[in-house]
């Protein structure tokens, strides 16, 4: 009999030890996640930085509507992609860090499908310049190659003088403007080179026809520079530099540069449409100054910290010891959420931040449900551990049904929403899942690791398990 009891006690002891170990592990994980988030936030160029939306970081959000009325429906998707590539190339020249250029189609709920191009330029608040740069016609230029400069460069390299070599290379610009540009273009077309003269057969090329003025200019250039190379530049990038074999009369030229058929077709389209495959029009602009964005961010964070403090305070006042546990679990919730924001990454906007603050209040709901259940069991005379287990078991169906409906709403929102609504839906959905995990794992583990208590034992601990104004 006594032996049996001893064994039971030992078992109870090792069980308690394991529970305490779990509790320490859970707290350690929360601290680690918190540390991860903290270092990400303060380190510059960290691997997982917080991604701030334009309304917090400052920048411009431009939406263009594409006029696809004159394009066969089957080609629309392809041309929109070409458009995106062209605009992306221009934006990159612009020197913006991490620009986003994407095609967006108005969803099926509206009557007409409208093809849009969304351009996000973080840090750019000078819309006028941005709009001008993006809307400009693409630049096709013909430049001569300066043989003398080229020769000089070659000499330097042959001599193997290492000093200032890099400087030389950087400043090295052997190209001479000819004044001949895409402005003089009449038309461009995709063709395939014939297999004559030992050339590769069927190479896709772009044939261009100059207008009268351009034709004359082209003729002069080729006559005066026969034997030299003429480089062809598109938006500042050299795509080919064929040799001028003879003076070309009639204003026709061919661009070949090892294109794939698709590239050649895109280039021909680019040139024909004044570089843009589809005419576009600016439909909406949104610009937020960097200092204002920072102000919004700071206030949002402040609200978050105060909200977190107040929620924890209320939980501790009302639920006492379990309330404190809920507070730890809520801090765990915030740490995990922020860590997910950096890892996924989720772009934080003012709306997302507000959603996060709101979720602080809602995230403790699962805890509240459990604690209320637990209290019933505890007052009925069960010890605190049994009451906690019962509480979780009985509250589960309510937590499950409530969270699944919330999650379904989040999914629908994400599916329907425009980008700003999508961000909110993502924060909302993540919040539902993470709050459930933090309640079921963190709160449960910590509650079971606390010393056992019974309502009939009138100790301080037993009172700490009660709640509200009840002092029984």
């Amino acid at each position: 009999m006594s032996n049996n009891n001893l064994q039971k006690k030992e078992e109870g002891g090792s069980k308690a030890f394991i529970q305490k170990f779990h509790a320490v592990a859970v707290v350690a994980i929360i601290v680690l996640v918190g540390f991860f988030v903290y270092t990400n936030a303060i380190t510059e160029n960290s691997k997982y930085p917080f991604k701030l939306g334009l309304d917090l970081a400052g920048g411009s959000h431009l939406v263009y509507e594409a006029d696809v009325s004159k394009i066969a429906p089957a080609e629309v998707a392809d041309l929109m992609n070409v458009l995106r590539d062209v605009i992306e190339r221009r934006v990159n020249i612009f020197g913006v860090s991490e620009p986003i250029v994407q095609v967006e189609r108005s969803s099926f709920v509206s009557e007409n499908t409208i093809e849009r191009l969304v351009v996000e330029l973080p840090g750019v608040t000078d819309v006028a310049t941005a709009v001008e740069e993006i809307g400009k016609t693409p630049l096709l230029e013909f430049r001569l190659i300066d043989q003398e400069a080229l020769a000089q460069q070659a000499t330097v390299e042959v001599d193997g003088v290492p000093v200032e070599e890099s400087v030389l290379e950087e400043d090295f610009d052997p190209f001479i403007d000819t004044g001949l540009t895409g402005r003089y273009l009449a038309s461009a077309a995709l063709e395939f080179a014939g297999g004559s003269g030992g050339q590769l057969s069927n190479e896709p090329i772009v044939s261009i026809v100059f207008n009268a003025e351009g034709g004359d200019l082209f003729e002069t250039i080729t006559r005066e520079h026969t034997g030299e190379n003429l480089a062809i530049f598109l938006d500042g990038e050299m795509i080919s530099s064929p040799r001028i074999n003879e003076a070309i009369v009639g204003g026709r030229a061919v661009i070949s540069g090892g294109f794939t058929p698709d590239e050649a077709r895109a280039l021909a389209q680019n040139l024909n449409f004044g570089a843009l495959p589809v005419p576009i029009e600016l439909a909406s602009t949104q610009t937020v100054g960097a200092s204002l964005g920072e102000g919004v961010l700071n206030k949002g964070m402040k609200a978050g910290v105060i909200g977190l403090g107040l929620v924890i305070l209320f939980m501790m006042l009302w639920y006492r010891l379990p309330g404190l546990v809920a507070g730890v679990s809520l801090i765990g919730y915030v740490a995990i959420m922020l860590a997910l924001f950096t890892v996924i990454p989720v772009t934080l906007t003012a709306a997302g931040l507000a959603g996060l603050v709101l979720s602080l209040g809602m995230a403790v709901d699962a805890n509240v449900l459990v604690f209320e259940r637990m209290k019933e069991e505890y007052r009925a005379g069960k010890n605190s551990h049994v009451a906690a287990r019962e509480g979780f078991k009985r509250a589960w169906s309510a937590i499950r049904d409530g969270n699944i409906t919330s999650l379904l709403s989040a999914v629908i929102l994400f599916w329907f929403g425009t980008s700003i609504v999508k961000g909110f839906a993502l924060v909302f959905g993540l919040g539902v899942v993470v709050s459930m995990i933090s309640a079921l794992l963190v709160t449960r583990t910590l509650l079971l690791a606390l010393p056992e208590s019974h309502i009939t034992k009138k100790t301080i601990l037993s009172k700490l398990y009660n709640s509200g104004v009840n002092t029984k």
Partner: protein, 326 residues
């Protein structure tokens, strides 16, 4: 439980509130922001705010049509104005910009938004669809999980009541928004829609928690009676009927009182977080938090004083009918 015994009073209040909200929304309408109508918004801040008259005089010369100019203190603490106009062309934008910048010292354009009318309409459609789709999914889900307790009221009733409660919870903050729009010029923007959707989620969650307790108590307090029934084509079936050991009204009342503390506490924690957001969170999300505060209050009222009284109300009407048909 007073909420159940005096259910007619609480339901009456709810009907009056919903009707009132409907009338307010119907007559005043929402003051839709440029997110929905299309238009331009320019926010400018100065070292010292120039007079409204002076700035208006400048703007009048530009031929912008109707515009509104509102004094504001932005989130960096600088004084300025928010100018709302119709959708501006690039040239008009430039002239507006130079006009407002020239009006004061250290002027700075901190925000410019211009939205075409098509995008605005599309957003309106999307918002409406999202709300309808979410509601439908919720009815289906609730009916599904309550399928086990279709006596004395069908599981569809739970789903239906959830939606009615939800309607109440969405109409009340919308009416509040209409009032704010009418008297204070507050505009309903995308954030307003998000606030409504969050209210929707909160409301459903709140109602489901109480219904969950009703479900549990129903199962606990019912007796199963199996009877063999031979149908007309000679197939023998087992029919299960239930007898409740307590009146339905009492079971529901018990459930409400058992979940009352939870309903109140969750709304307190949510309201606490929202209040922090309202007072500290800055101008951008102020309307958002206010709409949510109203919505959460409405949601708490509806889960306690509408959903369950309505459940009893419907159950009794059903029983009355059965008695009459016998």
């Amino acid at each position: 439980m007073p909420f159940i015994t005096h259910r007619k009073i609480f339901l009456g209040i709810a009907v009056a509130v919903v009707l009132g909200a409907g009338i307010i929304i119907g007559t005043l309408g929402l003051n839709l922001g440029i997110d929905f109508t299309g238009g331009s918004l320019t926010e400018v801040s100065y070292a010292e705010r120039p007079s409204k008259e002076g700035l208006s005089a400048e703007l009048d010369q530009l031929g912008l049509g109707g515009y509104s100019l509102r004094e504001t203190i932005d989130d960096t603490g600088r004084d300025g104005y928010i100018l709302r106009t119709r959708d501006l062309t690039e040239d008009e934008r430039v002239s507006v910009e130079s006009a407002v910048l020239a009006s004061g010292e250290e002027s700075l354009i901190t925000r410019f938004t211009s939205i075409g009318p098509v995008i605005g309409q599309e957003l309106k459609d999307k918002a409406l669809w999202a709300i309808v789709a979410v509601s439908l999914i919720i009815i289906l889900y609730v009916a599904f999980v309550f399928a086990g307790v279709s006596y004395p009221v069908g599981s569809w009733v739970y789903g239906g009541i959830t939606i009615l409660a939800l309607l109440h919870d969405v109409l009340v903050p919308t009416a509040a928004m209409a009032l704010m729009g009418y008297f204070m010029g507050v505009e309903a923007d995308v954030l307003f829609i998000m606030a409504l959707l969050a209210v929707l989620g909160y409301s459903v969650n709140d109602t489901i928690v109480v219904f969950d307790r009703v479900r549990e108590n129903l199962i606990k307090h019912r007796q199963e009676k199996k009877t063999k029934v031979v149908s007309t084509d000679g197939v023998e079936r087992e029919e299960i009927t239930y007898i409740l050991q307590k009146p339905f009204a009492e079971i529901v009342g018990m459930s409400v009182s058992q979940t009352l503390m939870r309903s109140i506490n969750t709304s307190v924690t949510t309201l606490v977080a929202l209040t922090a957001l309202y007072f500290v969170g800055g101008e951008v999300t102020q309307t958002f938090s206010l709409v949510l505060i109203v919505g959460v209050l409405a949601g708490t009222y509806s889960s306690i004083c509408i959903a369950n009284p309505l459940l009893v109300f419907i159950a009794e009407r059903k029983v009355d009918k059965e008695v009459v048909s016998k």
